[in-house]
Amino acid sequence: MSRAVLIAMLGCLGAVAVGGDKRAAGAEVPGGEDGQWSMPSKDYAATRYSGLTGITPQNAGSLHPVWTFSTGVLGGHEGQPLVVGDTMYVVTPWPNVLYAFDLTREGYPLRWKYRPDVSANAIGISCCDAVNRGAFYADGKIIYNLLDGHTVAVEANSGRELWNTQIADLGNGETTTMAPLVVKDRVIVGASGGEFGIYGWVKGLDLKSGRTVWTARNIGPDKDMLARAGTFKPPYDSGVDLGARSWANDSWQTGGAPVWGSISYDPQLDLIYYGTGNASPYNPEQRLGDNKWSASVLARRPQDGTLVWAYQFTPHDNWDYDAAGAMILADLTVAGKRTRALVHFDKNGFAYTLDRATGRLLIAAAFAPVTWAKSVDLVSGRPVLDPAKQTGASRGNVKGICPSLEGGVSPSSPAAYSPRTHLFYTSTNNLCMDYAATRSSRLKGTPFMGVTSPYFAGPGGNLGTFMAWDAATGRKIWENKEPYPNWSGALVTAGDVAFYGTLDGWFKSVDARTGRVLSKFKVGSGIVGNPITYRGPDGRQYVAVYAGFGGDWAMLSGDVRSDDPADVRPPADFLKDIARHTSLGGMIWIFGL
């Protein structure tokens, strides 16, 4: 039997396994690679690691585009495609079209496309571009969020809408950009709106019907948070109603704490993990106290939403340091001890390694320039603040805060973890800011912010990097400097090749052990999406990524736009020439050997 036939047969076996929930832990099982990409982050552990070995440092130099397709949509193409069996599924930014491509036929023609009825008003309620962070495949359904506060389930075979549930309220400033997570018969979803003063939440929907089974607030009184006595055990706090008592004057009611990244899941512990965004408004003097559990990671039971533990990365967020980014689950050897770890790269510039059973902090080390805090105290779990970098309307313009509010890394740019190299791979931003907070008034459905925050380059002058990180020791292993803020997610494979894209539109493969660039190709627009890899029907390994400049950058550097003659903007002063290298677009690119 030839190797190719064997691989094809294994591929079929993998495809047969689809539909069960058991393949969830596939990436942690050697040889368990099914060659698909059926969840936003590849697996429940959110590793963005594929066991495919076809592309190696030896042959990656010959990677080249084999197919492209315009989505017909402008706007930041964050998120990633799915590949299930021999079909690729692509969700666009608003108006959230879902495409299903037939990978068995020349030119990958569509099997179907689904165009939901989604409100245009959502564009103005979405703080920072009308993005979507991807779909989830489960039980023969493609499940994703529409920007206007609806979750839909579409039959994967036919494109037929199975259910469409309103989960969020545009009128209250809620939009839905995050990628859902499906565990057994629950669909877990959350809402964006940290810039609109929402009362942040996650919900558990019924997979069959779309009905909302439970709603859990991320802030507020215990009963709203589904925090039950004897069950909720935060590692560094005790007492009741922490999510309400840590907000002066009941400011939790409009305190934000949105959920706009992705969610991970540990089947053994039966816990979902997700991060919450910033506290609202940006002026911290309007919400004195720790503001729990904004800028935190929360662990819940997927079935009924019960809160089990929570840890706050940035108490009393003064700097818009959302913790909405990925929580990556990996079993690491920390200080000689095998540990069920959770690893998170925060906007605040620290990379955290936690015990994911308890939420207790093991390691916190800066991965980007940090000035707001000196360190994180491992005994109390709290940052050691620099008092000179505290902000607020009474403090005027506070200068020289690193990272900027774009984050040491954006929560839109999830990291990857290789169990082979034991390293994490992530984009970073090398930006600092001044922060002048002002008093803000909440008017439902309008922004609730109150800050002016110009950016400038951090040390070195390059505005971004792509780097490898050892989360068992809190050390940077290598980094590639990039001229622009780096805003793509990461991918790493068992071939020991890592992949990422750049804001000016280069798609790169690098040696996962050294960072050496193996290939690069200039795609049609800046990359803010996350690369994936899969085994095609021909048995070969492919890599797919969106090109489509956007997210915050479409607003910060408005001169990249060419679509509206009635809206002409100057270049961003810290990013003067990005429009020389890219403009808006929306393309799917597939690379092969």
């Binding site: 103005g124 571009d129 509206d564 903007r569």
Partner: protein, 162 residues
């Protein structure tokens, strides 16, 4: 609603017709048949609906505060207080909403046209502030926005040294 000063407000009839037209073209509404008493064709004109129900031609109001610096300064405060800056950026230079200081306009830059955009809202998420602010508040904002310094309209951005 506040007293409208020096403004010919859209009549109640116009309002009702606009509301009717909107209702009949809701997301899931069937196409109205003539027998069902469809609104007059002029009101159902697509652009009017998209604009959230716009005043009919000929009803162009005039800005009672045109060019008044003091009112423009009040408008700057209102621009922040009503969170306009959250979408259009500080000094109106653009964020998720368009730049208001580039001298270019999607829906027209005359005072009355800017008034309509704020009072009635616009597609893709511009809320209607007429109810919250009344005509006087909207004119105050218009006066501020029209006072923003507009750079010379240079359609070229070049990276080549001459």
């Amino acid at each position: 609603m506040r007293q409208m000063r020096g403004v010919r407000a859209p009549s109640l009839l116009t309002w009702l017709l606009a509301c009717l037209a909107l209702a009949s073209c809701g997301r899931h509404a069937a196409a109205p048949s003539p027998q069902a008493g469809a609104p007059p064709p002029a009101i159902r004109y697509e652009a009017h609906l998209a604009a959230g129900g716009i005043a009919p031609a000929g009803a162009a109001p005039s800005n009672p505060h045109q060019g008044d610096r003091a009112v423009a300064n009040s408008g700057a405060l209102l621009f922040t207080a009503m969170n306009c800056d959250g979408c259009h950026g500080g000094d109106g230079s653009g964020w998720v909403g368009p730049n208001l200081a580039d001298g270019r306009w999607r829906y027209g830059g005359a005072d009355a046209e800017v008034f309509n955009s704020i009072y009635y809202g616009r597609p893709k998420g511009m809320p209607a502030f007429g109810g919250a602010l009344g005509a006087e508040g909207v004119w105050t904002l218009v006066t501020y926005i029209r006072s923003l310094p507009v750079p010379g309209d240079v359609p070229t951005e070049s990276w080549v040294q001459p």
